[in-house]
Amino acid sequence: MTFEILETAIAKFGHAMLESEEGITEKRRVETNPNKNMARWPIGSSTLQSTAIHPKFIFLPSNVPPVHPSTVLAMSGARNLSAALRRVRVSRPRIALRPALPRTPFATVRSFSVSSPVRADKEIKYTSDAYPNVQRNPNFAELTADDVTYFKELLGSESAVIDGVTSDATDDIEPFNSDWMRKYRGHTRLVLKPKTTEEVSQVLKYCNEKKLAVVPQGGNTGLVGGSIPVFDEIVVNTSRMNNIRSFDQASGVLVADAGVILEVADLYLAERDHLFPLDLGAKGSCHIGGNVSTNAGGLRLLRYGSLHGSVLGLEAVLPDGTIVDALSTLRKNNTGYDLKQLFIGSEGTIGLITGVSIQCPPRPKAVNVAYFGLESFEQVQRAYLEAKGQLSEILSAFELMDGRSQRLVQDSTGTKQPIEGEYPFYCLIETSGSNAEHDMAKLESFLENVMGEGIVADGVLAQDETQFQALWRWREGITEALSHLGGTYKYDVSIPLSELYQLVEDCKQRLTEKGFVGDDDSFPVRAVVGYGHMGDSNLHLNVAVRKYDKEVEKAIEPWVYEWIQKRQGSISAEHGLGIAKREYIGYSQNDTMVKLMKQLKNLYDPNGIMNPYKYI
């Protein structure tokens, strides 16, 4: 009987994938739902790994290899449930409870899931075909066997070079050539994984001299194709630069290599009672260097601010090999231009970040989560104002999810919604502080107030860690739910708060009028949903489609950008420009600004070898 839980669990979430603003995490937490009949895998010679079972969750310890149907974890009897429960109470704070592996190709992962393997077998279209107006820059040299020999000698170790130039390494290179959304695909034939800043310097110097184009790549979890080559650019991957260099308990400053995985950094800090000031769904795969170079926002920006504030220093390599040592650990340093800011959010176009020094806050001791249903967007805004006013310094997240997005999560996970009845809007509020009683007193008076005033129609408050994580899943699981449906056109925009949701309504109306939206397969669009970081005026408009369709795309773009421009919003709040938004920068930046940016780019990268065809 115990088998059933495990099978169900694996069938449901065995390899669930999670997004957030930055990309993907393989979730290794699996949820049980004994009431649902799911497909079964045969249990034969199963291997037993330690597994924790709980009324709501099964946790697979992060050191267990990815669960495969043929190695279903099995237990010998019902009584072992509780034994197992006790044996491995795997756990860490919620944010840490998303252990993940370095990225595996999407197709492999997909095949584990029982839910609609929509895109499992389809080849990803080459970016160069999807963007026919982008032509390979003829000034760039073609890779030769000599170049490869040089890199092999330079980097020494065999694992540091994946060579598709002199040998056939298609399968090995493919993960570096495509993204997890299966939207972008390049033609690179060479992947380099330097281990030190010095090696990066040598690599870039050589490439600059030979005019070989380069794409810096971290965990490859971006959403705009910034880390994927378009043509044959060399991929310089930071995964082997993964040392934590230092941490100062007194100041909370962490210095680490660019290739340290965000979650690894956060776990390291957790042991020292500190917190990485950035959290996002892709934390199990993304590299902190990539986070900084894309200026990732994430779930806690409301509380801990942007990386422009928390990053104290950087180490980067310019295309000519110059090592920029701005790895300051000082909070205050008013000596000259703050050049590190140029690299934050520059998406690898003027240099490659190799090290980061970042201010980390103490880890909150008390965290609470509430989930609300609300009747209108006006009420959501009122709730947000009340939350800011009454919870102020302990408020750490205020997330908005519309009713449609929550229904999608429900349909894909089969979990019962926390609140009975349907509401057009839902919010998730998180508080973090240092004193549980103090926080709870504040939160309770806030809750009483918003309930009493009728701002919030219904709501729940997590009573334990498990519920806490379960509630967060309703926000974080949206992209996973969408990915089960087929393709998604994603727009990540900043809009003044009062009109934040209007974009979703208008977009839905527009697509409905054009006859694109419908419940059966004859309509290309399945749903138009909106969710996002209310606290940052940042909306994610997602159009879930049955398959990517040029007509639908034309109906959305550039209409959506014009809509945003009218309201002085940003067409890319936290995802960046990459290749996806490159040509739309004009909607959010004026000509002068773009000109200044191009000047900077030319100054630091005169040959234009760094991440070409993207950004500006």
Binding site: M1, T2, I5, N33, P34, N35, I53, H54, P55, K56, N63, S76, G77, A78, L81, S82, L85, R86, R89, V90, S91, R92, R94, L97, S157, E158, S159, K365, A370, Y371, F372, K416, P418, I419, A436, E444, L447, E448, M451, V456, D458, G459, V460, L461, A462, Q463, D464, E465, T466, Q467, F468, Q469, L471
Partner: protein, 264 residues
């Protein structure tokens, strides 16, 4: 036998299931100060089941209505937290049995005797309790209580069904390789297991209502029980740490490592 259920749901405040327990410095137990506590997950199931029995009774899907659900917990000054949670989920009232925190949890036999006292004083006819608490993992209280009361017991329930007005109860529980269905007559003791249900969230309106529900403070002496201890914890230690795996640079590295370990 009266026609309504008067249910007792004992709950325990334990270190949150999702928190990694650490051994205290003196190696005498698990560190509890400054650690998040919440309701024992098995007890959540009992509370949920009691509330569902009431709902089924009200919707006439069950032949017996629920007259009262009493939540009870023994422990220190923070114990009322879990009792409020139980009442927010649907319990009608709660007893907080004051046991000084410094003493640790009473032993199962003491708890069972205390519960017997409560059952007798409050005229309880069904006790729903978690099959074990995840801190002590003793899993004895329910069985001892049934023994003390001389009541039938059904352990590790995965399904509870009231069959008729006379109080016939059918309980399904999982055994190796299948399920076993037991039938007994009230009054009885049922312990709950993971499959029984999926506990609800405490909704905001119910959390507020729970604040107004009666919570009485009592002592062991009120039920004629003394907190005697027969067991002494000699030492608590961590299990030996799992040896971490190593990483090899490439295939050659893997092969030589395997050779080194004698696997090839």
């Amino acid at each position: 036998m009266s026609k309504a259920l008067r249910i007792l749901v004992p709950v325990k405040r334990v270190i949150d299931y999702a928190i990694k327990p650490r051994i205290n410095k003196a190696s005498t137990g698990v560190e509890t100060t400054g650690v998040k506590h919440s309701m024992n997950p098995f007890d959540e199931l009992s509370v949920e089941e009691a509330v569902r029995l009431r709902q089924r009774g009200e919707e006439s899907k069950s032949p017996m209505k629920v007259e009262n659900i009493l939540a009870l917990s023994a422990g220190g000054p923070k114990t009322p937290d879990v009792l409020r949670t139980a009442m927010a989920m649907g319990a009608d009232r709660a007893f907080h049995i004051d046991v000084p925190e410094a003493d640790g949890s009473p032993e199962p036999l003491t708890v069972a005797k205390m519960l017997r006292g409560v059952v007798e004083k409050e005229n309880i006819n069904l006790v729903l309790l978690g099959k074990q608490a995840i801190d002590g993992d003793q899993g004895q209280t329910g069985q001892m209580l049934a023994g003390l009361l001389g009541w039938p017991q059904a352990t590790q329930a995965s399904k509870v069904e009231i069959k008729d007005e006379a109080g016939t109860v059918e309980v399904t529980h999982e055994v190796d390789g299948g399920v076993e269905t037991l039938r007994a007559k009230l009054p009885m003791v049922i312990t709950t297991d993971l499959r029984l249900n999926e506990p609800r969230y405490a909704s905001l309106p119910n959390i507020m209502k729970a604040k107004k529900k009666p919570l009485e403070k009592k002592t062991l002496a009120d039920f004629g029980v003394e907190d005697t201890r027969r067991l002494k914890t000699v030492k608590v230690t961590e299990p030996p740490p799992r040896k971490g795996g190593g990483k090899v640079e490439d295939v050659d590295g893997l092969v030589s490592k395997l050779k080194e370990l004698g696997a090839l």
